[in-house]
Structures are given as C-alpha cells and as structure tokens.
Amino acid sequence: MNLKISALEFIEEAKNGNISVEEFVSATLERINSVDDKLHAFLSVNDNALDQARNIDKKIKSGEKVGDCFGIPISIKDNMCIKDTKTTCASKMLENFVAPYDATVISKLKKQDAIFIGKVNMDEFAMGLTTEFSAFGPSKNPWNIEHVPGGSSGGSAVSVSSYECIASLGSDTGGSVRNPASFCSTVGYKPTYGLISRYGLISYANSIEQIGPLTRTVKDTAFMLNLIAGVDPNDNTTVNNNNENYLENIDSGIAGKKIGIITEMIGDGIDPEVMTATKEAISKLEGLGAICEEVSLEMVKYSVAAYYTITATEAGSNLARYDNLRYGYEMPVEGYEFNSYISKARKNFGPEVTRRMIIGGFVPSAGHAGKYFLKAMKVKSKLTKEINEAFKKFDLLIAPTVPILPFKIGEKIDDPVSLFLVDINTVTANLTGKPAISIPFKIVNGLPIGIQLMANSMNDKMLLQAAHALEKTVTLPEIPI
C-alpha cells in the first residue's frame, strides 16, 4: 500500500474503488506502530478508525452518498476537542480531560467522512516552538531524529511528513503551524484571522490565533480550507468568505504579481544556507513572471517582543480557569484551604506555561501596563499600518519561514530568549491577521528549509495560487524514515 499520496489522490482512488479505505487506514495504523516509537508524534490513536473505514467502504460500494473526504486519515493537534476523546493540550493539567463536545472544525470534517486517526503532540498549551515543552516528551524530526520538529504543532508536522496520516490540523498563534511545517518539510497554512472557527480550540491567545491545515501539497490545503472555512455562529470572530472555492483556478500562476522581500526578515542572524534558499526561491518566482523587490517593515524588529507581551497577557487570562475544580487531574482536597489547594494544583503546569502566566500577570497590571502591554498594542497597530501600506504596492510578501535550520533537541531549551527569536519571521502574520503559508523548498545537509509567502487579509485564494506555483518548481528527496 502506497501511503505517500496526497489527499486529493487518495479521494480519487477511493472514489473509483481502486483502493479500499479499510486497507489504507490499516496500513496507516501499521505505519504509526512501526515508526512512532522513534518519532513520538501521537499522544493517542483512535481505536475505532478501522470500523469507521469499513463503514465508508460499505457506503462507497453500495453507491450511498459519501462525504468529500472519503475516509482520509487526519491527525488532530491535541488542543482541539473531539467528543468523548481525551484532549490533553500536552499538559498534566488536562491529562484526563475527555471533551464532551466537538470543535466546529471537527464536526465539519466528521460530516465529510474524515477519519481522525489520532491526537498529536504539541508544546504544552501550544506555548513553544519545538514540542520540547510537551508534558509527555518531545516529538522528533523525521528528517533527523536528533533534531527538533518545530512547534508548537510539531506532532502534526511529524505525522504528515512521515506518512502516519495524510493531513493534519494544527493551530498557529505565532507560527505554530508554519514553523513545524518548515522544519519537517510539509505545507503549513495560517489563514486570514477569522476564516476558520476557533470554537473548540483550547484558547491560548484568542485575538491572534487560528486553526490551520498541514498537508503534503498546496492543493490539499485548499481542499481542507473548502471544508472548514466560513462563518460559525459559535465563534463571533469568524468572517464570511462567501463559500469561496479555494481549489478553483489554483493553477492561475503568478505572472505579473508583485512580491515584496521583507528586508528585516533576511537580515542579522539568518543562516547562510537559508539565505541562499531564499534567493533561489525569489529567482524561481521571477522565472515564473513575478516582479520581486525589497520592502522594509521597520516594526518587525519589535514584533517578537510585542507578540510575547500580548500572548502572555491573554494566556494569563485564559489559563486562570485551570484550578482543578471542574476538570483536571486526581488530587485529593483533604488538608488544604481553598486557595492553597488551587495554587498547589496549578504547580502541575510545565515551566514554559508557568513562565508565560507569570509574565501575563505582570505586563498588563496596574503601574506596568503603560510600559509593556500598551506599548505592545501600539507596535501591533503600527505594524498593521506598515503591512497594509506594503500591500498597496505588493500582492505578496516573501521571507524564509524560519531564519535558521532545525536545531538539535535540547540545544535551546535553557535559553528562552534565543528560542523566542526563532519566531521573528512568523509572528507578523499573526499580529496583523494576514494569511501566510510555508512551502517546503529545499533540503540542506538532510534538514528542511521552508519559504513563507504572505498576502493581504481575505486574499487567501491568491496566496494559495502563488504557493502552488512555487511548489511546482520544487523536487525534494525522499524522507529517510
């Protein structure tokens, strides 16, 4: 059984009866069994996957109506609620939390007969960019298992790139979909803010985070977007996309498009190999008829500081509910006063989450808000103004997704500030609400490099067309696992 096919190829084959969904899902489960000991992408695997696959096969054979997914095995980041399934956020605080309801993206995909093959690893509460902050141990990069897979949606990227599933859903607060997509060589998409409902996604920083697909191809991302984008009455921030078909005209190409190269994202600290790859990407785009020139976004240099200030503030507020009273882990109440029980119970948060909650309590507090939180909000609005100005002149913006190559596990874990700076090229899209995509571009010394394209709000379709054009110029070696 060839597991290395895209979602659209799978659907074509399943529709025509060339492959049985049961056999494919069973081969996928075997693949998980054989490689996941080494990679640790999965936190739990769906026991009913084979039964669900059999049901879909039955429907296909009897000519009954089948949902658009035809049983594609999809992995789900463990911060999205699936009814009656453990949703841990890779945290000891939610180790035994069984969600009593489906997230909107989950119910939409269920209706289309997707199979949720398992829940995948992440940094605790999506805070981090290596999966090293998972309470259940890090995931490994399938290109070289001594290296980090990126994060926080690391399990999503590992599972897609190592053929443990066909596609995955992650969440992107400051690059958490694009960063692991770049490190593991998959496509990773952060849509326009509000395009996909966040209902059922365990909140970290509501004002900037979005759910996004990780897939093998740009076309698969467009396909997933068709299924999950659009207004949801349960999420007041969702926007109307007029039922846009993102697959239609995806071959439109990029001729005549103006692309801005963001000066601040190819400057100090960039790895020379990443710089070379970026230049190659630009010349390929020019070869396809695009017009590229540099553009400066001065506020980018303050973006990471603003990002961490704003997200920590929202995290501090969102995570206040984890007091172990209504859901959580087993901890007897005897011998504690009310407040001492809660503060003891909350010691089960990992170091990174604790760090961000402490920062989040401090930066917006009376006497300090003017110096930190309000300044961060000013950076956010100035950056938005700058990027909107840039989009008057350019259709797209380009930069490497991450300025450095995937580093070794443990290399940066004790140095939070240098880890924070890895986010420099991705947080701008979150702070400004713009759509952005990471496209697998090159493998250097066995390690992947991804290229990021950004577009203006609600120009998701044009962005996917451009990404597809760039993707078609790339051939990558086989993954060594």
Partner: protein, 70 residues
C-alpha cells in the same frame, strides 16, 4: 469635556436564553444541570456567544448611552 464611565447591572428576567449561550434561561421548571452546555460550563475551548436580545434590550432601556455595539 469630562467623560464618565458607568457600569450598570440589572437583571433581565424575560430572556429566552442565557447571556452567553443558547441554553434556556428558565431555571425554575428544570432539574439542576439540565440546561447546560460546554459554553456555560466553561469547558476548555468553548467561546461565549452574546445574547443579541439582551444587547437590544439594554440599548433600548438606556437610550442615549453608548453601550457595546454588537
């Protein structure tokens, strides 16, 4: 010009559903924990959905004041 912010609390007794979800607001004719959903239980991942009728009523009752725009 001096601007003064007022926070006014009042009970709206004739709403069909709760303020932040679509569960029934009537608590008199039901057993405990009957009218409950992931939103009013504060389950991880659930988001509040503001009752439009409540906003309308508060806007009518406090004409001339600027309240949340929905």
């Amino acid at each position: 010009m001096t601007k003064i912010g007022l926070e006014i609390h009042c009970q709206l007794t004739n709403l069909e559903s709760k303020l932040f979800c679509s569960c029934k607001a009537n608590y008199r004719e039901f057993e405990p924990n009957e009218n409950i959903c992931p939103v009013c239980a504060g389950m991880p991942g659930s988001l509040p959905r503001l009752n439009q009728e409540a906003v309308k009523k508060s806007n009518n009752d406090f004409n001339g004041f600027e309240l949340f725009n929905s």
